[in-house]
Assembly symmetry: C2
Amino acid sequence: MTLLGSKGVDQTQNLFQGSWTKVSCPCCVSDQVEPLVLIRLSEKVQPITKRWLISLIETSERHGGAALLAHPGEDECGDVIVVSAPRCTLLKATEDLGLCKKYQDGDMIAFSYQDRDNFSNVDDMQEFLTLAERQYIVKNELDSLQAQKKQKIPGIGDATGVLQAWENVCQKLVKAGVIKDIFPLHDQQKLKELGKKWYSGKQIWGQPLDEIHSYFGGTVAFYFSFLDFYTWSLVPCAFLGVFFTFLMSGVGSSVEVMEKQANERVMGDGDGPSVSGHMVQAVFSMLWSTLFMEFWKRRSSSLSYRWGTLQLSEGFAEPRPGFHGTQGINPVTGRMEPLFPEWKRQLRVGLVSVPIVGLFMGLVVVGMTGFYYGEALAKGFHQDSGSWFSKGLLYLPSVVHIVYTNMLGNVYSTVAMQLTEWENHREESSFQNHHTTKVLLFTFFNNFAVLFHIAFYKQDLVLLRKRLASLLIVTQLVNQCTEVLVPFIVDCFVKATQKKQQEDDPEVDKLRAQNLPCFPGLFSEYIELLVQFGYLSLFSCVYPLTAVFLLINNVMEIRGDSYKICKLFRKPFSAPVSDIGVWQTAFEVLSFVSVMSNCWLLLLSPRVQEFCLEGGISSTNILLFAILVEHVLILVKMILAFMIPDEPDWVRIKREQMEFYSMQALGQQKL
Amino acid sequence: MTLLGSKGVDQTQNLFQGSWTKVSCPCCVSDQVEPLVLIRLSEKVQPITKRWLISLIETSERHGGAALLAHPGEDECGDVIVVSAPRCTLLKATEDLGLCKKYQDGDMIAFSYQDRDNFSNVDDMQEFLTLAERQYIVKNELDSLQAQKKQKIPGIGDATGVLQAWENVCQKLVKAGVIKDIFPLHDQQKLKELGKKWYSGKQIWGQPLDEIHSYFGGTVAFYFSFLDFYTWSLVPCAFLGVFFTFLMSGVGSSVEVMEKQANERVMGDGDGPSVSGHMVQAVFSMLWSTLFMEFWKRRSSSLSYRWGTLQLSEGFAEPRPGFHGTQGINPVTGRMEPLFPEWKRQLRVGLVSVPIVGLFMGLVVVGMTGFYYGEALAKGFHQDSGSWFSKGLLYLPSVVHIVYTNMLGNVYSTVAMQLTEWENHREESSFQNHHTTKVLLFTFFNNFAVLFHIAFYKQDLVLLRKRLASLLIVTQLVNQCTEVLVPFIVDCFVKATQKKQQEDDPEVDKLRAQNLPCFPGLFSEYIELLVQFGYLSLFSCVYPLTAVFLLINNVMEIRGDSYKICKLFRKPFSAPVSDIGVWQTAFEVLSFVSVMSNCWLLLLSPRVQEFCLEGGISSTNILLFAILVEHVLILVKMILAFMIPDEPDWVRIKREQMEFYSMQALGQQKL
């Protein structure tokens, strides 16, 4: 029945076969059970607690269980529980999530449990649902375990062992120290195949996106799709950059000459592009960033259709585990669940979160001001005394500032998480978006406050460009090291130990060995792209070759990131998603800011200043002209964004079809 | 059965009863048939053509007819056909339009013909559908009459009498001169009741919006709701204005003093508000306009729920009569209908319509430039010669410019209509939006080009304010005259003739007497509000009493407009709509422009200039400050607009409920 070709997994399953949960439902009986998720318990957990948890996992949903399959590992005292899911649970969850699956006529439509027989591959769960989807469903079912009434957890003596009615079981067990980790298991055979196609093959371009989606799931696949699309979009910029560079510096020039020229241009004394050239570059980068975002939206919606996430019904599904409120009837779905009024959440966001985030940004500014003040003080002191002691003091402001910034960052990340928890979002995606927005704002502000200070207050363009160039180069170098070199070395070391394990250890230990460091999430990857994107749309006119460097960097980035996620970290759970979420907004906002910034920098550029002086144009007039250009560019940008439809025609038709069908169904159902 | 209490109508019906179409469907049999729509034919039309048309109207939809009820008037040779609709046709059309009706549990849900018995009032068409809806349905059915095959129209000899397959029958008959007009009939009794509540009653505030919606239909009701909401929103501005005025000019000052002060302030030598006062006013007007638009959206969506138009399915219904294309199968609905690819329409809009509209705007600028050039020439000539002839020549540029502008306007209105027709929009709302946008852009440009010229090129603030003030006062005066006084006089005259008719003439002549001038549409009404709104958000800081005057004006406007639509024009067909369409966008765009404009005008104001001179601030710095303020204000505006939900919570819940139901229905239907 099952299609798992991997020897290792087959063996694992055979060993397990004896003690998996017995299924009563005839359609769920299967020759082999696939281990999907591992629950790692504390070593001190008593067998009675483990038995209680297993029975809870096995109990049907009607009786307050998760309706999953569980296996206690080698014996009852072991510290793992392996979890899988029967067919019925998987299918019902597919409907609840609102996933679209292939219908018999080839269209992707929202799966319906009652109509299951008309969907393709519905008999074979390995084909019907991707591995990532199966694992996400298991996690989802575990997460939604709630105590039906106030009860004691067997084997835990003290007050921590009391479950209140409607309390979330898994969260409670994590708090009580019973559960240490819950993570999805790798399928080594599939992982090897994926790796071959992805990073160890010979192709440099292109990624096996469908396989990535099927193995790692929505959020990961969308990140790599975006990275892929972004890298491809750099090609025209790179060509243009090469063209400009060679056109300007003759045929025989080497890269050093170009670099030198670029540097000269920064200093304002080279023979760089003219004012009109600057303008052309600014307009091009504005057009490019707009078209890039608009076409990404189209790409995103077609990927979403292909991966069946166009009709996700998160709002109608059960709330996320952390959500709490008074028990009541959801007015939309009519189900019993915790309720929390929307206005209360908005008040919390508006009256507490926003001011606190603002406060932290203020603290960043305070830190920066303090740093500049301290630096000036130290310099003055050194000039006055000139001793060794005072020379040492010169470094003090920097050191204090770095320590201060780091501490602030650490405190903020805790505060951001707790604030977002406290805002009590019903949907996971909403939680993620609010959390990402908070962290993103701070990170950007923390990194860019100095740059903005230089650009807008000091109005020192030369310093700004130097800072930005060094920032980019240092960031790229550090990233390439940490992402490509370190992983490679670590992996060589890890492989050696892994091989040893494969020969000697029992099967369960192999699963336990997957307990690698936790995957750190995609935040840092996305923010790296965002900074790149900002740099490109802001400064490509200064260094025409920026796009070329970024292109090379990103081709390596793809391989580095893919290697990292496959080999160096525990497999992450990844929710089905229909887009890259709040990151799309972040890129769009940045591309708006870049228009303003471009106009401003153009105004400050030595070339323009010189041009004005020569032409006898007053600075007020040139300022007025810059404002006009800015407003026109933003208008053009908005019109372009409005004109280009956010989804391709064929996706629009499919979506409208679904709407039409559901409208008709609603009309006929009430007969 | 019917609830028509009016004597007149009852008599009409009794007279007609004999020769209405016999209905075969048992559920459609009714004691009385209500005359809904009048088709006025040319007097030359032969009885055979009239008989053919009547039979086409009566034929069932399956056989290519309209499935309506028809009555030939007094005799077969008369020039009218009175049309009504049987119950089945009305109910099916209600479902096709996607109208929501009250379900037995009190919720408004999309009407389903199969489930009709569970909807309230479904047995009584007068209660179930509003008069406007019934009439719109009749028009819709008539409009969708198509020739099933190539055929000759009986009684029309020449080539104009040949109907091609799938050709629209009514459009053809209008072209061939058979049909002169199709218009909905007034219900005199209901009209009288409505008038009493609306304009002849003693209440000044408030309008019977539900009755207006029921009698005149969606577009008209939404206009009056918007006018109502806008007028109420002026109250805080008016209070603030009065407060400011009295605070500044003491308690005993009369209106003249205030006016004088305002004028002095314009000239820059009065003791007007300080720079910070200006700023406060600018910020207040920005906040006010944003909040006004956001709360109108909320109001609009709750009205839309109340009036059952939250789920209009125009996209799934039949295309508008003017739509043409190759016959094919609609990929969404699977129905046979003309198809026209979306990209072709977008190309037509982008490559033809946009440049042509731009060309006309260019012609406006050319005209203005010519006017200024001609004026300068004439002035120079007059100074040189100083004769009577040259004095007369001084008026020539103005006269030529006025003639030019008027001609341009007339040509443009034809071009705009033809362009929009040629763009070939499938939905009526899309057609209307594109047409309105075209006319709106031109009208605004035509009216405001001179003002922008004065503000941005001449930078003469005093002249600008004078121009604007005179524009507003003249417009208001002219409007009040044409909208309130003239109608009243005309009505007195009309009433005298109407009374005569009621005694002597046959019933059909009474219906024929409703053939008043065609209702000119709501375009001019909306644009009047738009100009007001622009003036208010731009200049309320100069004349704090603007809002008071506008408030008084609008209270009169409500009465004038309502009187006009009830008494002076033929009743218009009015489609069910869910909002005010493109006008909402126009108001939002204007409120953005007003932020920029406010900042600019603040900068130019003599007070600020003086302040700068005194404070020794360079003009560049004050310009930078203005840019900063502008960007911050726009940011605040966007955040505000984003934070305030576009629909009240209860509407959101209802909408989500509907989505949830239809999702569930889709899942269950396929069993």
